[in-house]
């Protein structure tokens, strides 16, 4: 019985990290699709968001391969900071996009404006929105994971 409950718990944890990995992978391939296939050049802020999401795709993958049949519990320690910083950039980018922060205050070069909206899926979903969604979902899942398994 005890054995079983431990097993389920570790499996649930695995599932949470697995979903985090899926989100990071979707962000990785999605952003590569936008830039390499569709030819949308990433602006400076996009690059900062990429810097913090790309390692997550690798880190979650490493954590997923169970050692002694359980997920590496310290995964939250080294992935949560990346996700939080990334979310900061995503929110900043969103504010630039939606005009709350004026163009002149943000650090993009003239020919590659971060404020210019060049993609709107289904009419309203923009790239910074997707970024915010990905980062917040990862942060939430990691917080749930921490609450459950860090006692």
């Amino acid at each position: 019985m005890i054995q079983d409950s431990i097993k389920t718990a570790s499996q649930q944890g695995w599932g949470l990290i697995f979903i985090c990995w899926l989100i990071a992978m979707a962000a990785l391939f999605g952003s590569l699709f936008f830039s390499e296939v569709m030819g949308l050049k990433p602006c400076v802020l996009c690059w900062w968001q990429r810097i913090f999401i790309y390692p997550l795709a690798v880190l979650f993958l490493v954590a997923l391969f169970p050692q002694k049949n359980k997920v590496d519990h310290s995964v939250v320690r080294y992935t949560l900071p990346l996700a939080v910083i990334g979310l900061g950039f995503a929110i900043y980018h969103y504010l630039v996009y939606s005009g709350f922060i004026p163009e002149s205050l943000q650090p993009c070069s003239k020919d590659l404006s971060c404020a210019e909206i060049n993609l709107e899926l289904m009419g309203f979903v923009t790239i910074p929105m997707l970024s915010i969604f990905a980062y917040s979902a990862i942060i939430m899942l990691l917080l749930i994971y921490r609450k459950r398994f860090y006692q």
Binding site: F18, M25, F29, L32, F33, L61
Partner: protein, 216 residues
């Protein structure tokens, strides 16, 4: 073990999805590009542009180029070889797309040299001496000027001609046409009005050969 398989299968699924999406997207884009070019056929060629090779050739390669672009320089001998391999059948129309900083001045030197019948020599000199006048992707016209010796150019006339408004107008027109045609990288090729959709030596050769086969 089961988990490892799940992970690997998911990773492969991601890669597969990416490739599929890219293929679908590119196919759609190719179709759109072909249609757009058919609509924009008048932008591809202008009668003021310099022509190399036989004037009566039935296959015309139009190249939008920037003298400071490394790929343009690498393609130049290849395009010449295509013309040589199909003697009398292929010619080349050159159009300016000076995307690098100050490249517009370099191309106005070409146009001024053209008035002295030294266009091709000047263009080839520019490609040969690229390292001497391009610094950090910025063209340095004064440094290129120093490379122009031995071409038989009247430098005083050259200096005067390159300031002409007609030359500036042509360069501007070329750049506007490129924008209309969605050419935003150099070199941009069209063969008898058909765009080179997938960039590469082999693709260009195939396009030229298919046009030669269709016209002769």
């Amino acid at each position: 073990m089961k988990k490892n398989i799940t992970i690997i299968a998911t990773a492969m699924l991601f890669i597969l999805l990416f490739i599929m999406a890219a293929t679908i997207y590119n196919n759609k884009k190719d179709k759109a590009l072909n249609n757009a070019t058919l609509d924009n056929v008048e932008y591809i060629q202008r009668d003021y542009s310099p022509i190399m090779g036989p004037a009566d050739a039935k296959v015309t390669i139009v190249e939008f180029f920037d003298p400071a672009c490394g790929t343009c320089s690498a393609f130049y001998p290849f395009v010449k070889k295509l013309m040589k391999d199909n003697p009398g059948k292929v010619n080349l129309v050159l159009r300016y797309l000076p995307l690098h900083q100050h490249s517009d001045v370099i191309v106005s030197i070409f146009e001024a040299a053209r008035l002295q019948n030294r266009f091709q020599e000047t263009l080839e000199r520019a490609y040969q001496t690229r390292d001497a006048w391009i610094e950090h992707h910025v063209s340095k016209p004064d440094k290129f000027w120093l490379q122009l010796g031995g071409l038989g150019l009247d430098m005083e006339k050259l200096n005067k001609d390159m300031q002409s408004t007609e030359i500036a107008r042509r360069v501007k027109q070329d750049m506007q046409d490129a924008q209309q045609l969605n050419v935003n990288k150099t070199p941009g090729f069209f063969v008898n009005g058909k765009p080179l959709v997938h960039f590469g030596y082999q693709q260009l050769q195939q396009l030229v050969e298919s046009e030669v086969a269709a016209n002769y």
